[in-house]
């Protein structure tokens, strides 16, 4: 006996079993128990110092072994269990969540359906096997027939909850409440447990216990800390999150009309700057998480779609209606689990899965209207003619002529069409090309999804079709998205699942390239020309047209935009399959193995046919050209993780280790044809092939990852992660990198001194984190010296040549961002006010810099790890439930500040300069990345005296720009250029107000950005004379003479710009600050009474959604968020880092696609 008494707790049951066995042989039951009691009491005194035991039990167990649950009860109550070992062999795992519940209730719950009975004898509980059919159960073993039940569900105020879900635990039976909150269910097992749930309320479980009528009052779920958020490779309770993670669920974007979910999040996430750089349907926004951490490597965040990390993913491929949540991992400690790809932040997209219970069919339809609500004010025909004449006369005068000289004595560049001097009235007001190019566009979006399942199997099947016409001529966007998500539990230990999505997009997009692309042409084409000439052709280059007389003036511009939209037929077809299959196996209690295989297969086909001559509308007026190219990408990932969870007393530990392998291969083919006999057959076979190529490229990534979460008393939280990544992209000496992180959280509100003392604080958490994340966004073979072909000819023989393309770098490695984050989450006044504050400081070192090297090496730059950059900032987010009763009013507000500074650059810290079509940007130490770099424009010289009295360029004459002598050396030279602004805003902010009353909901979102500057590159065409393009209406107020000086802001035009007349200066820079009514939304959930005759309908909702409603901005062009240059990315087939990283030119607008106002009307029904 003594042996058992002295053994540890884990052995006690075995010991008791031994006792039972012995006792069973005895006859007198009472005596047995009495003896037992003596034994047990002895055990108790030995094991536990406290002698009093509560009869109340608190349990939080999920699928736990009965044996271990009993052990917990024993510890809490001091009661001991006696049972035959065989009895417990076929028991089911136990799931139970009770707090301070009576022991008896708890035991009833645990043994329900277990085919076991029990008896409590003093402090001993004897467990016995029951001999009865498994299907029916009751405490005393007598079978009770099913009953009919009914009830009502109300909120704490007694208001009926309409559409609340009532489900019988353990089977598929269920219903929803009607408009009075009533429900009824037939034939429910007498011992059943009901699950009653309603969005925004805490789910309640009620055991029938013989009752048939229920009045249920649900409590509001104000405790947001109980939410679960998705983090890398798993989920975490919000309570335990120690990094900086912003989570957005479906409700935040369900009615928004965007095809890309991130567009719907603009202005809603602190620390995340989402700007719509182009308004074309399907064009992805620029997403910047906590500033920019790279100069020449890519800067897009990593997207993780249902576990598959994908770089530069086109999020339009995921139907937003299929998304259940979007999580943004902002700090390096959260992103470090994604290692070498986390430095730009991580956006995790999780798609929906059905819930066990009732099958839900949801159907929706949206009708949308898009309009361009802002036009750029351009010159009309009379203004343009005057401008043209003056620009030519000014240049001719400067070349020594007289303004009155006829064309016959002028050089070709100075001649003026007779029409302009003799009969300028013939043009009338001229053509407004923006009216020609933009129209009101409609869209249709239909959605259907079916979801549901049982306890073992859940599913979601959805289909959606979006058919969107675009505001720009001939542009459209069509998307068909199908999805099947499945999860099935094969056994207690084994679960499998699959998410499969198929998306196809057919679209045509023009105009996003700026410069001579369609939108830019629509702005800069000359107003004197008609859309169609008298022959029905588009251009003045039609030799049979009377307009042809203008061709001899080579600086009249009509690249009729229709020649690109209507004389070119093109289309992109994108087919994407994203599939994930996974299996989870529970090895032992708490230890789970998960393996998944993910694949993303993308095929993009581009077809292009340009009609012969393009109706003389474009500069080339050439023969027909056709082009067809295909991009095919297969990305696969194998992911294997082990997850261990263990709780003992107040300690809770979860650990994760994983191994993943990912590989991508890109293939690209391109074939072009010309020499088409006519325009009837647009495929390449009709012409002769003139060029063809095929390219392939690969990358691979091998990773080992680990994470430990530890919490004590649900108050103190620690997380540590480590990832080791090996990448094919980096130099052979640096294939592997380590990315560690550590973070801690302290839920102060759980401390005794807060919990009872400070009533107004519902919860308060402090967080601190540190982590290192990497950036690997360089070309696939960036570290390898490539040879490229440069052929020569000897006589008539073409010979191959090979030359070195780039300098190899065996030491090339990741860019590493180290970030410190401190955060505070506080919920106040019964969680009516929630506030999240974060401050961060991050330093990126070993910048993957395509660093300029002296050109005498033969190369302009070399991809190397040099330089350092800092980002620091503050983010504030708060949600205030101002009114929560019948009339609800919620305010969500966010505010972010980021400051970016370059700390170190390449050799000698030489600044990095990039120029593209006059606009210059410079990155230098001590300054933020990519300052605009140019002269300071100080107005217009009025007369020679003014010129003579100030430093000036020798070519300066009255009417020319005044340029500031920045370095004060008395001369105007290239050294007088300076920093003239930066696109990065000083702060960004957003505020959403949501009002609700009964089924009615109304919300509006203001989005603002302050302090960023835009370089308006269209100034090159339209702000000053350039080859006869139409100019801004404002520019018509140019200096004509001292007596007629214009507005003092616009200098005289000239066709032969000299000196500083067309140099990049502050004249090009505009304030990018704006305030926008980003979204207004009104929705109405119809009361059930309206559609009570349609029994199948569970809910019906109507809504109106308006995007980009009003813009308050002084910007000249369409939209201050417009930027023609995209964030830097590298196409998979890129062989070298581009000498001009486009990301360096963010904020430069060369005529971008306007962001339209979109109003959608929608209806959604649930069945």
């Amino acid at each position: 006996m003594k042996r058992y008494i002295h053994c540890k707790a884990c052995d006690i049951q075995y010991g008791l079993n031994y006792i039972i066995k012995r006792l069973k042989k005895s006859a007198g039951k009472t005596i047995i128990i009495m003896k037992l009691t003596a034994v047990i009491l002895l055990v108790a005194t030995l094991q536990v110092s406290a002698s009093s035991y509560a009869q109340k039990v608190t349990l939080h167990e999920t699928n736990s072994k009965l044996k271990s649950v009993l052990n917990v009860i024993r510890k809490q109550t001091g009661y001991y269990f006696i049972f035959n070992k065989a009895v417990l062999q076929k028991v089911k795992p136990v799931t139970i969540n009770v707090t301070d519940e009576n022991l008896k209730e708890v035991l009833n719950e645990i043994f329900k359906g277990q085919n076991l009975g029990y008896e409590i004898k003093e402090k001993v509980i004897v467990i016995t096997q029951m001999v009865r059919p498994e299907s029916s159960s009751s405490k005393d073993g007598v079978s009770i027939p099913p009953v009919n039940i009914k009830g009502k569900v109300v909120d704490p105020k007694g208001k009926p909850l309409i559409g609340a879900s009532i489900r019988v635990k353990g089977n598929t039976k269920g219903t929803v409440t009607d408009e009075n909150g009533n429900f009824a269910l037939q034939a429910v097992e007498n011992d059943a447990v009901l699950l009653i749930s309603y969005s925004g309320f805490i789910t309640q479980e009620i055991a029938l216990n013989g009752r048939t009528e229920f009045a249920v009052s649900l409590k509001e779920d104000v405790q947001s800390l109980s939410d679960v958020v998705v983090v890398g490779y798993g989920t975490q309770s919000k309570r335990a999150v120690t990094g900086s993670v912003t989570s957005v669920n479906y409700d935040k974007f369900k009615d928004r009309s965007f095809s890309n979910v991130t567009q719907a999040l603009a202005g809603q996430l602190p620390g995340v700057n989402i700007s719509q750089s182009q308004g074309a349907p399907g064009s992805s926004p620029v997403v910047r998480i906590r500033g920019t951490s790279s100069i020449t490597a890519g800067t897009n965040p990593l997207y993780v779609i249902d576990g598959l990390p994908v770089e530069n993913f086109n999020l339009n491929l995921i139907n937003p209606q299929d998304i259940s949540s979007v999580e943004v991992l902002k700090d390096a400690s959260s992103a470090a689990i994604y290692g070498s790809r986390g430095a730009n932040g991580v956006i995790i997209i999780t798609t929906k899965l059905g819930k066990a219970g009732i099958t839900n069919v949801s159907a929706g339809y949206e009708f949308g209207v898009q309009t361009v609500n802002r036009q750029i004010k351009m010159m009309n025909a009379p203004q343009f003619v005057q401008y043209y004449v003056d620009a030519h006369n000014n240049a001719w005068t400067a070349a020594g002529g007289k303004a009155s000289d006829p064309n016959s004595v002028r050089g070709p560049a100075y001649r003026i069409p007779e029409d302009f001097t003799n009969n300028p009235q013939q043009f009338g007001e001229g053509t407004n090309w923006q009216d020609v190019m933009f129209h009101t566009a409609l869209s249709h979006n239909a959605q259907l999804s079916v979801s549901g399942g049982s306890d073992k199997t859940q599913f979601l099947i959805s289909g959606a079709y979006l058919d969107q016409d675009a505001v720009l001529d001939q542009n459209y966007y069509k998307r068909l998205a199908l999805r099947v998500n499945l999860k099935h539990q094969i056994s207690d230990k084994f679960t499998i699942g699959a998410n499969i999505s198929l998306t196809s997009i057919y679209d045509r997009t023009d105009g996003t390239q700026g410069k001579a692309d369609v939108v830019s042409l629509g702005v800069t084409s000359d107003p004197i020309f008609p859309v169609y000439n008298e022959n029905g052709n588009l251009g003045f280059r039609d030799p049979k047209s009377t307009w042809y007389r203008f061709t001899q003036y080579s600086d009249l511009q009509l690249w009729n935009p229709y020649s690109l939209t209507r004389e070119i037929n093109k289309q992109d077809k994108t087919y994407n399959t994203l599939a994930t299959g996974y299996a989870e196996y529970k090895i032992i209690e708490g230890l789970k193995f998960r393996t998944s295989i993910n694949a993303n297969l993308t095929n993009i086909r581009h077809n292009y046919y340009q009609n012969a001559l393009q109706k003389y509308g474009y500069s080339s007026a050439g023969p027909a050209i056709a082009n067809n190219n295909t991009t095919s990408v297969l990305n696969w990932l194998s992911e294997n993780t082990l997850n261990y969870e263990k709780q003992f007393n107040k300690h809770k530990l979860t650990a994760l280790v994983g191994y993943t392998a990912q590989h991508q291969r890109d293939e690209y083919n391109d074939v072009s044809s010309s020499n088409f006999p006519n325009d009837l057959v647009p495929t390449l076979n009709a012409g002769t092939v003139t060029a063809g190529t095929s390219l392939a490229s690969e990358w691979a990534l091998l990773s080992y990852l680990g994470r430990v979460n530890y919490s004590y008393a649900d108050k103190y939280f620690l997380t540590a992660t480590l990832r080791r990544d090996g990448s094919s992209r980096f130099g052979e000496n640096n294939k592997y990198g380590y990315f560690p992180s550590a973070s801690a959280g302290w839920l102060i509100s759980e401390e005794g001194f807060m919990k009872d003392q400070v009533k107004w604080v519902s919860s308060l958490k402090l967080r601190a984190s540190y982590g290192i994340a990497g950036n690997n966004q360089i070309p696939n073979y960036g570290s390898i010296g490539l040879l490229s072909s440069s052929n020569y000819t000897y006589g008539s023989t073409v010979v191959n040549g090979l030359s070195i393309n780039n300098i190899s770098n065996r030491d090339l490695k990741w860019e590493k961002t180290t970030q410190y984050n401190a955060g505070l989450d506080i919920a106040m006044f019964n969680s009516r006010l929630n506030l999240t504050l974060d401050a961060y400081y991050s330093v990126t070192k070993d910048l993957l810099l395509n660093v300029p090297v002296p050109d005498i090496t033969g190369f302009a730059n070399q991809l190397t790890n040099i330089g350092k950059m800092r980002n620091q900032g503050i983010e504030i987010g708060f949600t205030s439930k101002n009114l929560i009763h019948d009339f609800t009013w919620t305010t969500d507000f966010n505010f972010s500040v980021n400051r970016n500074k370059v700390l170190e650059l390449g050799p000698n810290n030489a600044p990095l300069n990039y120029n593209d079509f006059s606009v210059a940007v410079r990155t230098e130490v001590g300054q933020p990345v990519s300052n605009y770099y140019g002269y300071i424009f100080d107005g217009v010289y009025q007369n020679q005296a003014q010129i003579s009295s100030s430093p000036h360029d020798p070519t300066t004459t009255p009417g020319d720009p005044i340029v500031r002598d920045v370095n004060g050396d008395g001369k105007i030279t290239a050294d007088d250029r300076t920093n003239i602004g930066n696109y990065q805003p000083k702060f960004i902010s957003g505020i959403t107000n949501t009002f609700g009353y009964k089924g009615l909901e109304f919300s509006f979102l203001f989005q603002g950005s302050y302090g960023g500057k835009i370089a308006n590159q269209l100034v090159r065409y339209s702000g000053l004379w350039n080859g006869g393009r139409n100019a801004y209406a404002d520019a018509a107020n140019y200096w004509r003479s001292e007596a007629n000086p214009g507005d003092g802001k616009h200098f005289k035009p000239t066709v032969e710009p000299k000196g500083l007349q067309n140099q990049f200066s502050s004249y090009w820079i505009e304030d990018g600050s704006f305030l926008r009514v980003k979204n207004i939304r009104l929705s109405y959930a119809l009361p059930k009474s309206v559609f009570s005759r349609m029994a199948a309908v569970k809910g019906l909702r109507l809504y109106v959604n308006a995007e980009n409603v009003f813009l308050f901005s002084k910007y000249t062009n369409y939209d201050p968020e417009n930027t023609t240059y995209a964030a830097t990315t590298y196409s998979p087939t890129a062989t070298s880092v581009s000498p001009i990283p486009t990301g360096a030119f963010l904020g430069v607008d060369y005529g971008s696609y306007p962001v339209p106002r979109v109003i959608t009307f929608g209806v959604k029904a649930d069945f």
Partner: protein
């Protein structure tokens, strides 16, 4: 199962991550065999396409920065392109930087061959031929660069970025010494033109002619005469009877040609010649589809031709007739016309070769070096114009032999990238161009050192005047 697959797939970690480029060759195993060097040599020759491109640095320096040519509307940054003819260049001019880059990139492609050839295990005679060809190209490139920028960083091998910081501008004399050394080696080693089976390779004659030009530029007329005489006495070259036949697109690598850049044209994917469309009036759309508007001929050059000189209309078109039948009076070069070139990818796929050195140039240089008009008159005789010193010669306009040679070179070699260099060599640039209204000073005759070059290495000096 899935785990197994992935472990199998990644079983050999090294091969999983060591992915070699698929669509490009890899530099690590190159420069080993004779076949490798053939490819590398071909790529070195291909740098000629860039160096002597119609919109290349030599073109701007010789034609725009003289009195021969202008541009009206052109594609790209117009102001930076127009600054050459206006002599308003500054150190931030993007074209000047581009030419600097192109020059050193060309040198890299030459030097890398020289760097690697000695160590390669291949035939010694082959090595010598390769070296001589590379040194010819290198000597030629430095010769042009030293004229364009004055002192330039002098590299005779490829250097790493680290090494490059210690390489500053070498004095002109040092650069010239290298040029002469390279060209002397080339002229000693290279075969005669007649021994060349593949036209386009550098020859002894090319090296000698260039060496003559270098000496002439350095002011050493005696050495120049010696080198140029070797070309003449080699018997490899002669003037074609008809000046016009020099410019027939199919007439390539003639007896008059000494060094000629080779193009194929006519189809996609082969080296195309751009002189025809780049020199056509901008957006004419009547005879070329693409038209660059580069090197449009000035009235001054047009009028330089004697009225009886047939070379004028072979060299310059007085304008063109547009599709409506209207004559547009824009003068443009027509030597490199390829009227039947097919349009490939919206551009004329012309095949005109470009002669860097031809016999007429040698004769005129010889006249300059020896002050013997006999060579001048060989050129005039072929052109069918009155001989110098003979009846009908416009001696009023060109009273001295020097001026006569200057005139003759301008018309004979118009738009062949000679004029700007000629004026600078003879010290005539400032007076001639000033008289024509160009704001020229001695300092502005050189290009500025691009500011980016000096930002990267602040010890690199700037030319005076910039």
């Amino acid at each position: 199962m899935v785990g197994l697959i992935s472990i199998m797939a990644t079983g050999c970690k090294k091969s999983f991550l060591d992915l070699a480029p698929i669509s490009n060759s890899n530099a690590s195993n190159f420069y080993k065999t004779q076949a490798d060097f053939d490819l590398a040599v071909n790529a070195a020759y291909a740098t000629l396409y860039v160096f002597f491109a119609p919109q290349g640095g030599v073109s701007y320096f010789s034609e725009q920065m003289s009195d021969n040519a202008t541009i009206y509307n052109v594609n790209g940054i117009q102001a930076d392109k127009k600054a050459f003819k206006d002599f308003t260049l500054n150190s931030s001019n993007s074209q000047v930087y581009l030419f600097w880059q192109q020059s050193y990139r060309s040198l890299f492609n030459v030097n890398i061959v020289l760097d690697n050839i000695d160590a390669a295990n291949i035939d010694a005679a082959y090595k010598d031929q390769v070296k001589a060809q590379m040194r010819f190209l290198r000597g030629m490139y430095y010769f042009y660069m030293v004229q364009m920028w004055g002192d330039v960083p002098l590299l005779t091998k490829t250097v790493s970025a680290e090494e490059s910081y210690s390489i500053l501008r070498a004095p002109k004399a040092e650069v010239y010494a290298q040029v002469i050394s390279d060209l002397q080696f080339a002229s000693a080693t290279l075969p005669l033109s007649s021994a060349i089976t593949e036209p386009g390779h550098a020859t002894k004659g090319a090296a000698q002619a260039l060496l003559g030009k270098v000496y002439l530029t350095m002011g050493d007329k005696a050495q120049a005469a010696t080198a140029l005489q070797q070309v003449v006495t080699s018997g490899q070259y002669s003037l074609l009877p008809q000046y016009a036949s020099l410019w027939v697109v199919t007439n390539k690598n003639t007896k008059e040609s000494i060094f000629e850049i080779q193009f194929k044209g006519g189809a996609a994917g082969v080296p195309l010649s751009d002189y025809y469309n780049e020199y056509s009036p901008y957006e004419n759309f009547s005879f070329t589809l693409y038209a660059g508007g580069m090197n449009q001929v000035t009235d001054d050059l047009y009028n330089e031709f004697e009225s009886t000189d047939a070379r004028r209309d072979i060299t310059v078109s007085a304008g063109y007739t547009n599709k409506a039948g209207v004559f547009i009076p824009i003068k443009y070069p027509r030597k490199w016309t390829d009227a039947n070139a097919p349009v490939i990818n919206s551009r004329e796929a012309s095949s005109n070769n470009f002669m860097v050195l031809r016999y007429a140039d040698v004769l005129l240089m010889l006249a300059e070096a020896t002050a013997d008009p006999i060579y001048l008159n060989q050129v005039r005789s072929r052109a069918g114009v009155p001989l110098y010193g003979g009846a009908g010669y416009p001696s009023g306009a060109f009273p001295t032999l020097a001026l006569a040679i200057e005139h003759e070179r301008r018309v004979e070699l118009a738009i062949e990238f000679q004029r700007g260099f000629d004026l600078r060599r003879t010290g005539r640039a400032v007076p001639v161009l000033t008289a024509k209204g160009k704001p020229v000073t001695d300092q502005k005759l050189l290009l500025p050192v691009p500011e980016i070059v000096r930002q990267q290495n602040s010890e690199i000096t700037q030319n005076i005047g910039y």
